[in-house]
Amino acid sequence: KQWYQRRLAITAGQEVTERAAEVKKLLNLTKNKDALKLALQNPPIGHQDPSVKEQNYETVLSVLKAFRTPEIDAAVGELSDADVDVLMKYLYKGFSNSPDKAAALLLWHEKAVKKGGVGCVIRVMVDRKGI
């Protein structure tokens, strides 16, 4: 069982690294909405290696930074319910880890609440595994 878990952890780590590269490509092509959807896929929730979680967090942040304010609403509108939940988790991680970016994160937060409601925020509050 331990071996299996280690294999899963390594694959998750690889996936995060590959995703970071893919997202960068999409951003360079200004395919921001696609980059957002990809960045929010399969987050390494509860992963034992904090650097894997950090890397994915940086990927998501890089996408959020790429958007101009008026584009955020439409982008969030296209996300699935599961994606909005993941986005909200990263926003709250951002509030605590990157307080200097709070202003931008709050813009995203407003749109995420518009789409996912307070239920979405509640799910961040009850999450114990940590994104």
Partner: protein, 331 residues
């Protein structure tokens, strides 16, 4: 017409946490933070309810209590992380309590009985919904094999465990037939499972605040209430849980609107704001709904239910009236 006249044998500072009435045998059971439960029997001669102490043998508060369908036993959930099944021992004239402990890891918040009287489900603070056998030889239980109980299982056997929730499980309820089980939890989700497909839990995560209680409107619909202060209907469509309708028909404010004179006075004193700044919600309940209870059924169809809230109100809801008032409402 008679309240509980006996002096309530409760230590100061402890709250009664749950009550249940057994209509066929006319007994009431209560449980409280003082770690006790009492069974109340009606004494017709003295016109009062007499309390019998039930020794639960638990070291934490008793949080939730329910009579079984046949009313020959009741289940008490507690903060002691165990479920007490209590029944009356004729020979010794007292209530016996047997414990179901493994593998419950945290406070039990809700309990519901299956119609067969020996299967019981609980929701707890360890985010899981579990189904147990409480079959007792002492009570002549004759359990039968069923999708819930693949092989005959004795008292305290864990029959099923569901971990789809990320939050405390506030409410749990078997469908009228007992074939399905629904639970609501603090991660703002509703979860439903059919006993024939226990690996497939139908789940919806909502945009609204968490629900505290769930009951069934029929075999294919559930009614829930919680922190948004109104009862809401969800339908089971195939494998999905789909929003049905908010069941609180918007009622006009009780004061019936403001007169022109009063409006101008308000604008004058509040500097132009015409909107009434009161904190009154436009739902019937002014605070979270704590619990929903079935009060009338016609077969497997719900006809009437009640809700109690943190606003101190007890509201009776008539399903036929709601169906008439809300377009497209289907249970």
């Amino acid at each position: 017409s008679s309240g509980i006249n006996a002096e309530w044998p409760l230590r100061p500072g402890e709250r009664v946490l749950s009550v249940d009435w057994a209509p066929k045998t006319n007994r009431i059971v209560t449980c409280a933070g003082d770690r006790n439960a009492y069974v109340w029997n009606w004494d017709a001669e003295k016109a009062e309810w007499k309390a019998s102490l039930v020794l639960l043998r638990i070291e934490r508060a008793a949080t939730y209590v329910r009579w079984s369908p046949n009313e020959d036993r009741f289940a008490v959930g507690s903060g002691a992380r165990l479920l007490s099944i209590c029944y009356y021992d004729e020979e010794h004239d007292w209530w016996v309590s047997k414990h179901i402990k493994k593998p419950i890891r945290s406070t039990i918040l809700c309990v519901d009985w299956h119609p067969n009287n020996y299967i019981v489900a609980i929701g707890s603070c360890d985010f899981k919904c579990r189904v147990f056998s409480s079959a007792l030889k002492e009570l002549d239980d004759k359990p039968e094999v069923s999708p819930w109980m693949a092989k005959l299982s004795k008292f305290s056997t864990l029959l099923a465990e569901f971990d789809t929730s990320d939050g405390w499980v506030h409410g749990v309820k078997f469908s009228p037939s007992g074939d399905k089980l629904a639970w609501v939890s603090h991660d703002s989700s509703i979860n439903v499972v059919d006993m024939n497909t226990q690996d497939k839990v139908s789940r919806i995560v909502m945009a609204s605040l968490p629900l505290n209680s769930v009951i069934w409107g029929s075999e294919s619909s559930v009614i829930c209430g919680g922190h948004d202060c109104y009862p809401v209907l969800y339908n089971l469509v195939g494998d999905n849980v789909v929003f049905g309708a908010k069941l609180d028909v918007n009622n006009k404010k009780a004061d019936g609107g403001i007169s022109a004179m009063a409006r101008f006075k308000m604008m004058d004193s509040r500097g132009g704001a015409e909107k009434d700044n009161s904190t009154k919600l436009d739902t019937t309940h002014q605070n979270a709904i704590k619990e929903l209870r079935v009060t009338k059924m016609a077969g497997a169809q719900l006809k009437q239910f009640s809700s109690v809230g943190k606003d101190g109100k007890l509201v009776i809801w008539d399903v036929d009236a709601l169906v008439a008032a809300i377009q497209g409402l289907k249970l």
